[in-house]
């Protein structure tokens, strides 16, 4: 492969005069091309062309000194509470479940589509929009989703549910620590579903 072409420019051997062979200046570039492509392959494999994507998240502002009146109030009718639990299950109920005498109806769904949590969020949004149109709620009221991941949920659930918020255009949502009451809701619903 790496020979140097020394054939010169055509040999006329007729004349008796011996011509000095002209050395060609042509160099075989094949090995150089090989080397070039080898290095290209190396750089292609080590490079990170696509920059990692990130998701911005704002947690609710928490301050011990904050006064009760300054805390933002969420209307029961705009709220939807999602409880993330094991096996990528989502328990949900409308409102915030703050009335102990009147426990909310807790239902269970998952992240599968269609028919999963996305439909629940879309339905809730439509409901709030209808309430706003009928005048029961102010136009400034927006669907508020409270996300409470429990101890059995994974990070993937957490990212998925926040992603659902941006997919469905929910502007107001908050990730809150799960309360014992909510934990109780999950256990009760689980027990009720197991009996079926």
């Amino acid at each position: 492969m790496a020979e140097i072409d020394t054939s010169g420019g055509g040999g006329h051997k007729k004349g008796g005069v011996k011509k000095a062979k002209k050395l060609s200046t042509r160099v075989d570039l094949t090995p150089m091309v090989d080397l070039g492509f080898l290095l290209i392959t190396f750089f292609i494999f080590t490079t990170t062309m696509s920059k990692p994507k990130t998701m911005e998240i704002n947690m609710p502002f928490k301050d011990e000194n904050m006064k009760k009146e300054e805390q933002s109030k969420v209307k029961e009718s705009t709220a939807l509470t999602l409880l993330l639990s094991k096996d990528h299950r989502v328990y949900y109920y409308e409102g915030m479940g703050s009335d102990p005498l009147n426990p909310p109806k807790v239902e269970v769904t998952n992240f599968k589509n269609p028919g999963g949590i996305r439909q629940v969020i879309i339905d809730k949004k439509a409901k709030v929009d209808a309430l706003v149109r009928s005048g029961a709620l102010q136009p400034t009221d927006k669907t508020t989703v409270l996300i409470k991941p429990d101890y059995n949920s994974t990070y993937e659930d957490f990212v998925n549910i926040i992603d659902e918020m941006s997919i469905n255009g929910i502007q107001v949502y908050a990730v809150v620590d799960i309360s014992p009451v909510d934990q109780e809701f999950i256990t009760l619903t689980e027990a009720a579903n197991a009996g079926k």
Binding site: T47, P52, K53, M59, K62, Y155, I167, N168, G169
Partner: protein, 218 residues
Amino acid sequence: MSRPKIARKSTFIDMTAMCDVAFLLLSFFMLATKFKPDEPVVVVTPASISKVILPDADIMLITVDAKGRVFFSIDNKGIRKALIENVDEWKGLGLTDAEIYQFSIGSSIGAPFNQLKGYLSSTPEARSAYDKTTAGIPTDTSVTNPDNELAMWIRSARNNNPKLRICIKADGEASYPNIQKIIATLAGWKIFKFNLITNLKAVPPGTYASQPAETAAK
């Protein structure tokens, strides 16, 4: 009698052009490349539709692997050096210059303070073996807990560079309480805005996010 001469074509191809192309591509890749930072653990991040690109500089990276082990890293070599000097002074680790240098050129750290000196003085092979077995940086939900070493790392890093953007890169399998500890630690330092590193996935059709921006704004 002479046979008609068949012009013998040479099989020799001029490689110059190909060589040019190869080296053109090579120079492109050499300039465009940014080496993958060596990660102590493999992390498979969940996917989201977010298209925000992670900025290049001023990053604090908190890596959480599938078992919930926490690793801490910041990007700038100079700041890393300042950070480790602060930590060394504060915790009285007694690091040598060589160990400080090892930290500044290294990547994510998953060693608790009391094992940090041993970790930094060992060989790269021993370090990667250590990363596989370590329990990660101890974390807690309260920043006042002296065992919450992540809180101390975050605090010293932010003292050195207040512009640091905090990114959490966690494995999808990591259980939520581990993430909650980090979020609570950040909240303890009054950090309520941070980034989660995710993979990109397609926007599901027919949803709010798939509509063009002008209709979505209405």
